[in-house]
């Protein structure tokens, strides 16, 4: 679906993206993570044919973005991080404009516009002027515009930036729905928890270089990092500590007697976690709760990156 081979972009003395290589399968949701200025937007703009790579190649559906940008534009949907909308038109006129730009036949447009408005929950605003919409609604309208021509690849650059918590949740729900529809999505964000439970694979970029990519599990394995488990037991925390420390995959255990919990640094995979829990239960420990810390992606990110920008 998407192939990046040594993709490089330099601006005079600055290398914004440095030999980035990546492969995405159809239906994959790729989370592109990195600090501000790491090169996320430049990478997405190169795939979207808006910035010409200095070196390397990007192909969408085996079509080169440099050699055939017009063909690539017809099959991708790009939502920029900062975008404006035409305020002087109504919502349906705005969508009709882009539908026409994407050469969708006039007869098909009303149905398509109704579909994307339904998907983005903007049906009630169909005849409203765009300037009357809230920021979150404009963001959804932009996504609706991006979906009009049924693109095979969605490039979403910080789709939830600048949104309040409610709008952020709505946007996340919308993205989940797109995932269920089988869309291939390349999404960037610097808010890591946003992507943790959403993406099938992630890539971490820093100073223009892709320093890790794959599923969260693979990255943990690749980088030798540990996952953090939080285990709560009603009694016998000392026994729990003993059992945990006997396990070679456990790096560290921190007890919190007041709340009957312990934090475990664990280097194993999900099967190993299951084995560990089974071991605890077999030894008579009354485990009430065992969760993997939600901040895993942040931990990975913080440990992998060094705070550099391109």
């Amino acid at each position: 679906m998407l192939d990046l081979v040594n993709l490089t972009k330099t601006y005079r003395d600055l290398t914004a993206v440095d030999s980035l290589s990546l492969h995405l399968e159809p239906g994959e949701i790729f989370g592109f993570i990195g600090p501000n200025g790491a090169g996320k937007t430049t990478t997405i703009k190169m795939i979207a044919t808006l910035v010409r790579p200095t070196d390397g190649e990007a192909r969408v559906n085996d079509i080169s973005v440099v050699a055939h940008p017009e063909q690539v534009r017809a099959i991708i949907g790009y939502m920029p991080d900062y975008f404006g909308v035409y305020d002087d038109v109504r919502v349906w006129e705005y969508l009709d404009f882009f539908a026409s730009a994407y050469r969708i036949p006039r007869a098909d447009r009303p149905r398509l516009i109704a579909d994307v408005l339904e998907l983005t929950d903007l049906n009630v605003k169909r005849n409203a002027f765009v300037e009357e919409l809230s920021r979150g609604m404009k963001q959804r309208l932009c996504l609706a515009k991006t979906l009009l021509h049924d693109p095979v690849l969605l490039l979403l650059d910080e789709p939830a930036s600048g949104l309040d918590p409610r709008a952020r949740i709505e946007m996340r729900e919308l993205l989940r729905q797109l995932r269920r529809m089988g869309k291939t999505i390349f999404i960037s964000s610097h808010i890591l928890t946003e992507l943790a439970d959403f993406c099938t694979t992630i890539g971490i970029i820093e100073a223009g270089r892709l320093i890790a990519s794959g599923s969260v599990e693979e990255i943990i394995k690749q980088t030798g990092l540990t996952r953090t488990l939080e285990i709560r037991a009603t009694q016998g925390l000392e026994l729990v500590e003993t059992i945990l420390r006997d396990n070679p995959l456990v790096h560290d255990v921190v007890l919190d007697s007041e709340s009957d919990r312990c934090q475990v640094s664990f280097a194993g995979e999900l099967d190993d976690v299951a084995d560990l829990l089974k071991c605890l239960l077999d030894r008579g420990v009354r485990v009430v709760q065992a969760v993997e810390s939600a901040s895993d992606l942040e931990d990975i990110f913080l440990r992998v990156t060094r705070g550099q920008v391109a």
Binding site: F83, V85, E93
Partner: protein
Amino acid sequence: MGWLMDNPIIVRELRGRMRTNRAAWLLFGYAVVLAITVGATYVSSRHDMQLLYNGELGATLFGTLAMAQGWLLCLIVPGLASGAFSGEREGQTLDALFVSPLGARALVRGKLLAATLFVLLLMTISLPLVAFCFLLGGVGAHQLVGTFAVQAASALLFAAFAVGWSLTCNSTTQATVMSYLTVGGWMSFLGSAGFQSHTVWAALPINGWREEYAWCQVAGHSVPAWLTAVLLIGVATTCVLDLTVARARLVRDGVVSMRPRLWLAGVAVALAACCAADNSGSHHWQDLCRVMLFLGALLAAVLTVGAGDVDLPRPVRWWQFWRHDPASAPLFVALLPLVALLARHHAVVTTLLAQRPDSASYHCAYSWPLVANCLMVMAAVLLAAGLVGRLMDHVVHRRWAGTFANLALLFSIGIPLMDAGDSTHKLACVVSPEMCFRGDMGASGVLVAVIFWLGVAALAAWLGRRALRPQPAG
């Protein structure tokens, strides 16, 4: 009209524009200004017995109306169209537009026609006043058609200027200023060169139809001057539009092919042929050269305005003029005078020799060695212009500095060209390559000119390389 509605930009722009109060006020103001102008002229002229006796009151009013409308177009069109792309950039909607499958040509055409259609609506408002002039007599249908055709063509050209600048400039303010300057330059050019050619005179949008300038000779036939004027404006518009499309492709795809430039060279041939055919009045072939050089200066200004969006590596930008870089403009611009000179030489031999009493001296004055001299000086001047522009661009970190340096240099060529007729000083050709055509300039003058401009180019290149040298850390 179907093809118009198939361009989504035209539909959106017209829809958005006509919804605003600004459009309504503009239409109202336009009608009021024209009505006051015609009314005031009528009040002051209605007792003029000479006009009444000759039946020229209607023609006088129509002339005033045409002039007022022409000036209003000069004022309104650049303001309407100069935000075409820069406004999108400022409103952060340009990316969405560029990532759509709309081609560069469709984008430019949409923006241009959206502005021009509104201007046509404005012009339609003046029709009742035209009818009033018509009723008073002295105005013919051909006069009406000719004037409106020239004004509509001029509106299209002005819109093309503005759309081109809006794609080149970062802000709408810059684009507006440059559009007004370009329109002013075009009007000044037509005004100054118009006395030599009926076609050029008729191309001024502020001129109503006049009997003494109404016709020109094309291949031995009398042709309405407004027709050749519309052709001239059309050629200029096509040039500007093609450059704008090339610029759009550069901004969007980072690539510009040489095709538009070669195509433009063909247009230059057509322009030269058009001028060659118009041998009415007291014109002589220096005007043709001036036309070409002036157009060359304008094109150079547009093309060398900087390659900021290309982000080519620095060393490439300094010397690889030909590799998809607008900086190759000097080479392209050099093509224009070459074409002009070829046409000129041919015409001198075939036409002028037979007509002018001093044909022998003319032939002598315009012989090939002198043409070669002129080309050498032109090449040196353009090389210097390109390199100084690049230097300014780098040193000041402002693309505009480079542009203005170029403009200053180019106008230092163009302005003396206008008044250099009586000058016989050899140093004059340092700033005016056209002076090389004078038989009394001699080789020494040409040598001085070439050395001077190559010196400027070398200095600019040397300073540029020095400025590019990495500075030691700390």
